[in-house]
Symmetry: C2
Subunit: 420 residues, 2 copies
């Protein structure tokens, strides 16, 4: 197994704040986003405390790739364009000689609003964290039947709703839905009372496929990664999900972090998936390490109150990598397209404080969590702000994702036509 | 209940073939498609035995709506544009005075290739036919547990894969996938041996929504309908679908008919959904008839052999209408977009010869079907051509959909990297 950060150290930039050990955005990172400074949406690259207004510098790209403020066209242009842009940006931001031309186009991150970095073509969500699957399975089916029979053979996934994907900073409104407690005779239409987060990583597909691809090919199709919060209405899900899976329970919102951290930036942090507990079919076997060592945390801040970190875990806890999930996704002949987004599934570690959802942290509401403010939480309350953070740690630098945050707002008033 | 065809009779056209009682495309229909006659893809309207090259006549639309050869932009333009275009086309094709200007732009249907009529934004498939749900449930869980507890309260649906939707005439390749028979210890990677069709209708969303909508509002958002064959790998589904629903089993292909039959054309054929067996929550109650009386049939033709009609049923067999499904789809705040496609779910009637899938027709393979050729079928064989047809019958005319057809081709050779 490759050791994390092998052969990599900080690449120094003439942007001083990019050389700080605690910045998410050193020159090694160069994540891609879309920002608005009040002058309209544009494509940008984060460097230290700044965003570089890409269209204003000598980026070397065909300008048509920047016409739409979204990274889809650059992704579609393919790996040689990706490599060329990264090399050019590294040159522009490391070589002091470019400072006069580039410097004026650095805008303070604090002064801009981040928008969706790409148009989500289709969204698929997986269930590939074993600790999460075991925790949820134990709660719902008992410890003996915790893992479904197929779980160790298939990276279980379902199609999500692309229209629900929003960028960090977007408010999330508590959904209404059909719910029915086991002791109720009939369902009710009510605001979800068990609204939850799910800590995930999202993999962004940068190249299309039109047939079955290998795990190695799948890896090369991935352009980059984001943090992803798959907001989930547990009570709606419990009543709706049999027999065809989650639907409205997962359709309220899925929040992603605003910066696409490229696969290139994460290369030094590759790690293998855990040892197999059952041999995989050949099409799912990994030719090399396909996961990444990315430390993750979840913060919860009640309205007007300070934040408590409620979970710390790592992306290396996944049983299946995004490349394996993508390879599986193509087995039936399913075409993949530029801008497809794959959610990893909830990332929970083995310990109680490393669980990636309140469902697990409060054990289905039976063991409410106590926050630093003294308040307790089984599920989310109106006004709660959820913040996901993640970073791969190198020697003296880190590859960070920025925040993936959202505030839960109260349910809307029920329209007259929906009232009894 | 409205009687079918109330107050409607044939609207005569100067295109003679449009006045035949057996054409799918009288002037009352005016379905929208995209065709290619070898000179490139263009938007067209079917009339009798012809397609009208819309861009070449005085259509009254903003030409920018025809720039992309897909109906999405016309849909996005909204109901008044829809009504204006329909009125204009009715005028052009009924008034003999327009013949000199319009006639030269009628191309024989037999001379053009039909393409996808719209870009599918997202695809959702439902499970809203009660006979189908009872049949499948009986096979899998026994007669006592046939209907899931939520079925009479929720139009059960799951997100499908938009990239899998293809137009009639596209070959379908038998998929590979993980399968495991109950008596096998481990799964195998194999071509699906239980590949099937599902007879459905597809509703096309023509107007967006960004919050909960009523059934009445949902109905007005629907631009039109197509026939839909949701090809399904039953063996892949059986192993993969617990706990999160069908995934690769439904991702090989979904074939739609090439003509969007508008809601306007179907108005005279509205019928109510069947009587409720359990009261619905208010948000799902229908303010008027939302289903349509559309006779449907499925033909199966083995390679080089004549076709056998294996099922005849009607869209009025659905327990939930597309408007109810769409209203439910929005409950969680899920945004709907122009070009979203909703599959009705398999449409099976109460009798054995009205079942909309081979799974039901052969009762899980236990009672193979005998074709007119003498061959038998439990599931589909390589080379089989499947044809769905549908039409609403008026007085001396009918509103037809054209064929929704596809040939099943053999599975591809397994790549080396996927072999043991």
């Amino acid at each position: 197994m490759k050791k994390k950060g092998d052969g990599m150290s900080l690449i120094r930039s003439w942007v001083d704040s990019a050389n700080r050990a605690d910045t998410d955005f050193p020159l090694n990172n160069l994540p891609y986003g879309v920002f608005d400074d009040g002058q309209g949406a544009r494509m940008g690259v984060a460097i230290g405390d700044f965003v570089l207004d890409l269209g204003r510098v000598d980026h070397g790209l065909d300008p048509v790739l920047l016409a739409d403020p979204a990274w889809n066209d650059v992704m579609a242009a393919g790996p040689s364009v990706w490599a060329g842009l990264r090399a050019r940006l590294t040159e522009l931001l490391s070589d002091e000689g470019h400072r006069p031309a580039v410097g004026p186009h650095l805008l303070p991150l604090a002064s801009v609003r981040m928008l969706m970095p790409f148009r989500v073509t289709e969204y698929t969500d997986f269930y590939a964290g074993k600790n999460h699957a075991v925790n949820v399975g134990t709660m719902f089916r008992g410890a003996e039947n915790a893992l479904p029979p197929n779980w160790l053979s298939i990276p279980i996934g379902y199609n999500g709703r692309a229209s629900s994907v929003v960028v960090s900073g977007t408010d999330v409104v508590r959904p209404w839905g059909q719910v029915k407690a086991p002791d109720e005779a009939q369902p009710r239409f009510a605001p979800s009372a068990r609204f939850d987060l799910e800590l995930e990583m999202g993999a962004i597909i940068g190249q299309p496929s039109d047939g079955m691809v290998s795990v190695a090919e799948a890896d090369q199709m991935i352009f980059g990664y984001v943090l992803l919060n798959d907001w989930s209405a547990r009570d709606i899900q419990a009543w709706e999900y049999q027999p065809l899976g989650p639907f409205q329970a997962k359709a309220t919102a899925t929040t992603i972090s605003p910066w696409i951290v490229t696969r290139a930036a994460l290369e030094p942090f590759r790690v293998s998936t855990p040892e197999r507990e059952r041999p995989l079919l050949p099409y799912l076997r990994e030719p090399g390490p396909m996961l990444y060592d990315i430390a993750l945390e979840v913060g919860l801040a009640p309205e007007g109150k300070p934040e408590t970190v409620i979970a710390r875990t790592n992306y290396d806890q996944m049983y299946y990598s995004a490349a394996q999930q993508l390879a599986h996704h193509t087995t039936s002949g399913c075409a993949m397209r530029v801008g497809d987004l794959l959610g990893s599934g909830t990332i929970s570690g083995p310990t109680k404080d490393s669980r990636g959802s309140l469902l697990e942290l409060s054990w289905g509401g039976k063991e409410p969590l106590t926050l630093a403010t003294g308040e307790s939480r089984s599920f989310l309350e109106d006004g709660d702000r959820l913040i996901l953070r993640g970073a791969a740690q190198g020697d003296g630098y880190r590859i960070g994702f920025g925040e993936c945050a959202g505030v839960l707002r109260p349910a809307r008033r029920l329209p007259d036509w929906a009232q009894e």
